[in-house]
Symmetry: C2
Subunit: 346 residues, 2 copies
């Protein structure tokens, strides 16, 4: 067994960021390890997932989830190991999917945990391709994107955890898939490793022209993760009846003021009408009932080699803030994970 | 039989409007009556429908239909009478739904016409509650609005041909229905005649506050006919998972430049994501397959007295431009129709 400590290191929200998060918005502190009550388990974090949505939790603005309180531990999905159990559902050594947060230890109700089978897949994939990001891609594309063979699908942040799954599922559904990503290395990866039909560097000064060339038949589905200049380039290319699943807007998460005019809302609403566009936001929990389908289908695609994934692993809880700030700037390459502890030898 | 003429009066597009259409953009001219070819009929216009979409046809901007050419007759749906038939589908005296345009006579392929039964309903209802506007309301609300009992439905241009049907169908579906219309007379009509739960004058200086008071549980469906200040008032009240069928934007049809900043697109896309809104444009022909359901259900509601309609009738083709310009300013009260000729005694 790995050593268990009576102390708990955790990263708390020290202050709310103005604009981009900075190191002083986070604080690493050590507190006593919590104790589980009846029906609860004590969990040790093995893997912590870092995801763009966490930027929203740092702000007080109304969103689909409550903000993290100042002084409270940052929230996040984890793959964790049961250390102590006061529930007959789990035993020490069990590996579970949890919302442990940015800390070494967490207490959780046994009912809220999903047990993982370490023999079936690498456990950290429950935070990536077989977890929230993969299911976000799967459900958003199926329910809102509604891909049909021969259509053109564009996805932004295409080498990221969600985007890379969107593109590959689109390819499986018979779409022409075009990814937008940051830098030549990511673009090469999209084409050579993931089978995208085209990849475009969003830093290219002629992004609109390159996107137009990559989409000779226009765009039928735009899976929106980014906003900003990518959206501006995509918008004129949207075909009649195009669908836009709005999943993320990472270019704007640290905006401090609305951009200058003119007000393009009127132009957007005009296009929605005349081109009969469908823009729809969603979060993965809206489609929770589809988890069974997702897990079955995605596990099959991974087994067959039809879907690949890439992980960007940072070692050590103390590096989570730096890694998260890098994520918001697109510095990660693949699903960003913090390896917090080794699994106990069982 | 009413007299038939060898001349054809028609209203042509004299020039494309800059901003709001003006009298000089139209011209009434007299040309020889057209002659039907094989498989065609000669139609005399009895009723001409005037609808907001016609403003789009006057401009060259890309839309879902081609613009009317300068010098060409204005397009429009008509209820017409067959005068001469070179098809075995129709006989003189038959009444049909056609796209005869703003003119006394038109030639049409017999295949494109739907015969109307003058005994079943007043023939001009095929241009209103039992025609394009009614079906626009029915299909947009069903397919995009997806009303559920207990939800709050807001519709703009609520006393108009589309809006009045939207509100009444919403009431039948069990929604709280709130109409936005121009002036106290129309608002009174919505509540007293059509059974809306609340009606708000869009000219009220405190429109946002009044709308908020009328929607204590927020807005689940906003059927968009208008844009402008109504949209601005509706937007903050949209609930999570709200649906916005985008059917029209009459406040903007004569815009000559985009409004000043800030650019609220970013705010809109943020709300689409965090509130999981669905904004979707449509035109009635997108749902052509549902015409049978529409006609059956709507005819039943009219028969039962569950749906009422109001017509605003202008006499004489020569008055069509003036009536149309008034429509764009909201001066009509109910479905705007031009009575062009009497039906022949049969």
């Amino acid at each position: 067994m790995a050593m268990t400590s009576t102390e708990n290191r955790r990263v708390v929200l020290a202050s709310r960021p103005e604009g981009e998060p900075r190191p002083e918005n986070f604080r690493l502190e050590t507190v006593p390890r919590p104790e589980p009550g009846d029906g609860q388990v004590l969990l040790r974090t093995l893997w912590l997932s870092l995801d763009p949505y966490m930027r929203g939790r740092m702000s007080e603005a109304k969103s689909y989830a409550k903000p993290v309180p100042v002084g409270g531990p940052m929230e996040g999905g984890t793959v964790s190991e049961v250390v102590l159990s006061r529930s007959d559902r789990f035993r020490p050594g069990d590996v579970v999917l949890a919302h442990g947060g940015w800390q070494d230890y967490a207490v959780a109700d046994a009912r809220g945990l999903r047990q993982l089978d370490p023999e079936a897949a690498p456990i950290q994939t429950a935070l990536g391709i077989l977890g929230m990001p993969g299911m976000t891609a799967y459900t958003g594309l199926a329910n809102i994107g509604q891909p049909k063979a021969g259509e053109t699908l564009v996805v932004s942040a295409a080498s990221g955890a969600v985007g890379s799954a969107v593109g590959q599922i689109g390819r499986i559904r018979g779409c022409r898939t075009v990814g937008v990503a940051g830098g030549p290395e990511k673009c090469r990866y999209l084409i050579e490793e993931l089978g995208f039909d085209a990849a475009i560097d969003h830093r290219a000064p002629d992004l609109p022209e390159r996107l137009r060339e990559a989409c000779p038949n226009g765009i039928d589905i735009y899976f929106e993760n980014v906003g900003g200049e990518v959206w501006t380039a995509v918008f004129p290319l949207l075909n009649d009846f195009a669908r836009v699943p709005v999943c993320g807007r990472i270019a704007h998460y640290s905006d401090t003021a609305p951009p200058p005019g003119p007000d393009r809302t009127v132009q957007l609403m005009a296009a929605i009408l005349t081109r009969r566009l469908r823009l729809q936001g969603f979060i993965v929990s809206d489609f929770a009932a589809q988890q069974g389908d997702f897990l079955r289908e995605m596990a099959g695609w991974i087994r067959d080699g039809q879907v690949r994934y890439r992980e960007d692993v940072v070692e050590g809880l103390e590096r989570a803030p730096e890694a998260f700030m890098g994520l918001l700037k697109g510095r990660n390459f693949g699903k960003l994970l913090v390896k917090v502890a080794e699994r106990s030898a069982s």
